[in-house]
């Protein structure tokens, strides 16, 4: 019942935002966005100082298949326009015992710190660059003592209607004090295209790796995603995307619906104390 309510609420929210978006001016496609994540892969966009970006998603694994849905929740706080702190819950990392079936998502509370420069900051044509570290605060699942950490360097650039993202990430994972996977470095990439005919709509795709806890060990698996982002409001977007994972058939693909909002946090009084 809560699942159905959550889906209904998300659908209603999506419809309401789409409806409310009529007449809103589209966000300029050349301006640097502030959402620090494509579908799974991070981008080099950082929120401005005092801006909070919040997103909530339902990954509809199987509302279609085994009555389970994944979800994530992320809040990004812009810090001085050159950094951001992300706090969130997600199920990007998965676990399996004997790994003879479909791995189960693992809830992880994670915090990330990203620091970087916006595009054109140092010289014309420079891509936005960000370096980030993401660590696990807690996990809930069969592998409760699982921890995953990622360090990544990513560059993003707006080129007309296209936005490109490319980077490299070092992943590590551990299970308590008994096991450490060791650093594994992978590239990742992302792509966005906003057609001139549909200035509020962006087609996107990305490719990223995430740890998979298999029994008493861990390895990484790739996640490929593609979908559409609709700029429903000047401050809000709705994403609809499909995610495929390594060693899974097309029928195991998950559908993700994500709502993202960008808000300006109130600033304190500048008076002296």
């Amino acid at each position: 019942m809560p699942k159905v309510l959550a889906i209904v609420a998300l659908a209603w929210l999506s419809a309401a935002r789409v409806a409310a978006a009529d007449g809103d001016p589209p966000a300029p496609s050349s301006a640097q966005p502030e959402v620090g994540r494509l579908i799974t892969a991070p981008t080099a966009w950082l929120p401005r100082a005092g801006v909070v970006v919040g997103s909530a998603a339902l990954d509809l694994t199987a509302v279609t298949r085994d009555s389970r849905f994944d979800a994530d929740l992320l809040l990004s706080f812009g810090l001085g326009t050159i950094a951001a702190v992300d706090v969130g819950l997600d199920k990007d990392v998965r676990e399996c015992g004997a790994c003879d079936g479909r791995p189960a998502p693992l809830w992880m509370a994670r915090v990330a710190f990203r620091m970087g420069a916006p595009q054109d900051a140092l010289f014309p044509g420079m891509p936005a660059v960000a370096f980030g570290v993401r660590t696990t605060v807690a996990a809930a699942g069969d592998t409760e003592r699982a921890r995953a950490a990622t360090a990544f360097l990513v560059a993003s650039r707006v080129i007309g209607p296209i936005k490109l993202h490319a980077g490299a990430a070092a992943d590590d994972a551990s299970i308590g004090r008994a096991y450490e996977m060791g650093r594994v470095v992978h590239p990742f990439a992302g792509f966005e295209w906003t057609p001139a005919q549909y200035p509020k709509t962006t087609l996107m795709a990305d490719f990223m790796y995430a740890p998979l806890f298999a029994g008493d060990a861990a390895r990484t698996e790739w996640i490929a995603g593609w979908g559409v982002r609709y700029q429903a409001l000047a401050w809000g977007t709705i994403d609809l995307a499909v995610r495929h994972r390594q060693d899974e058939s097309a029928s195991d693909s998950t559908v993700l619906v994500r709502v993202t909002g960008t808000f300006n946090a109130p600033s304190p009084s500048p008076s002296r104390r």
Binding site: A49, G50, L79, G80, T81, I82, A83, V85, V111, A112, F113, M115, A117, A121, V133, T135, T136, V137, R147, A149, T150, A151, A170, D171, D172, A173, S174, R177, E180, R183, S267, P268, S269, P270, S271, R272, R273
Partner: protein, 340 residues
């Protein structure tokens, strides 16, 4: 009934008109002429019958003199980069408070106040000190809270000569900490210089002389030594002088007016209670931190970043993301100034 309403309305209207009239002048003694403006006071001082000059009585209704314009407050340079001390001191009577939270579950606080522009006193808790049980324990865990007191003295930038960096000599000492049956203490003597190379770039470099002690049952019972006893080891007994000295430093870049990028490398003690070799029981580990400081308002700053406790291993899983809020206050300074 209608008559009553008409009467009430008439009374109300009349009353309103009457109240709207200006207040008549009060009758004056000796006639109805308007009052004369008061004469200006006699500039000459009053003279008594015996010829003495008397001061005129003070006018109790005289307007107060305009308040003195407040001096513009100088900028406050932070006493720490992220984890290492700077060569800058808090201005006199300025209060400083910092509270930090990190993903490893660490909560720390630091409270200081400036003394006469040449010194600073503070009490803090730190989670930088870590412990391991034995040689097989590969991942150190933090001991917290670890309470320390610090005193620093020094001179600010350009005080003695133009181009002189800010220099501070600081001493930090912990209270004895009892954890897992072991008593530990740390002490650190630092000398650090900080210089604003340009208005947007500052460098900090310093040296630290460390000492630490560990007391407890550190040996396992063997056939040869069946009765183990508590004993104490200290860094100054186990290590050479050079092993107690470490260089630390940091960089501070301000690309935007209110935002600074901070990077520093410092050191923190690590205790290994039952390591087989005494030299391994107390070791200094390098700590790398980087982050951003954002001046939300003149009195509050928000900092966030990443701290890697043991950069020798470069273990991603050890990395901690921290957020900290620091406040500075001139309130005590203003209160002191108001007494002058």
């Amino acid at each position: 009934m209608k008559r009553v309403l008409v009467v009430l309305a008439s009374v109300s209207l009349t009353g309103g008109i009457a109240r709207a009239q200006p207040v008549p002048d009060l009758p004056l003694e000796g006639g109805t002429e308007p009052s004369q403006p008061p004469l200006p006071p006699d500039p000459k001082p009053a003279e008594s019958a015996d010829g003495d000059h008397r001061e005129p009585a003070a006018d109790p209704y005289a307007p107060l003199p305009p308040p003195k314009p407040e001096k513009p407050l100088p900028p406050i340079y932070m006493p720490e980069v992220l984890t290492t001390p700077t060569g800058w001191l808090l201005p006199a009577a300025v209060l400083y408070s910092r509270t930090s939270l990190d993903t490893g579950g660490g909560v720390t606080s630091d409270h200081r106040f400036g003394l006469g522009d040449v010194a600073e006193f503070g009490v803090a808790t730190t989670d930088a000190v870590r412990e391991r049980m034995d040689d097989r324990d590969l991942r150190a865990t933090r001991i917290q809270p670890y309470v320390t007191a610090s005193f620093r003295l020094g001179v600010s930038e350009d005080r003695l000569f133009v181009g002189q960096p800010g220099v501070t000599l600081g001493f930090r000492k912990s209270f004895e900490r009892n954890h897992n049956g072991f008593k530990t203490r740390i002490a650190e003597l630092t000398l650090v210089a900080s210089k604003n190379v340009t208005p947007r770039f500052a460098v900090h470099i310093g040296g630290a002389f460390w000492d630490a002690s560990l007391e407890g049952i550190m040996d396992e019972a063997t056939e040869a030594n069946p009765e183990v006893q508590r004993r104490e080891v200290s860094l100054h007994d186990q290590a050479q002088l050079a092993d107690q000295v470490r260089v630390f430093g940091g960089l501070q870049i301000r690309p935007l007016d209110k935002s600074s990028i901070l990077v520093d490398v410092g050191w923190a003690p690590e205790f290994c209670y039952r390591c087989s070799i005494d030299d391994q029981k107390i070791r200094l580990r390098p700590v790398l931190s980087w982050g951003v400081r954002y001046e939300v308002a003149r009195w509050v700053r928000l900092e966030a970043g990443v701290r890697v406790p043991d950069i020798d291993k470069a273990n991603l899983l050890d990395a901690q993301i921290f957020g900290q809020l620091s406040f500075t206050s001139w309130a005590l300074r203003r209160a002191v100034d108001s007494l002058k």
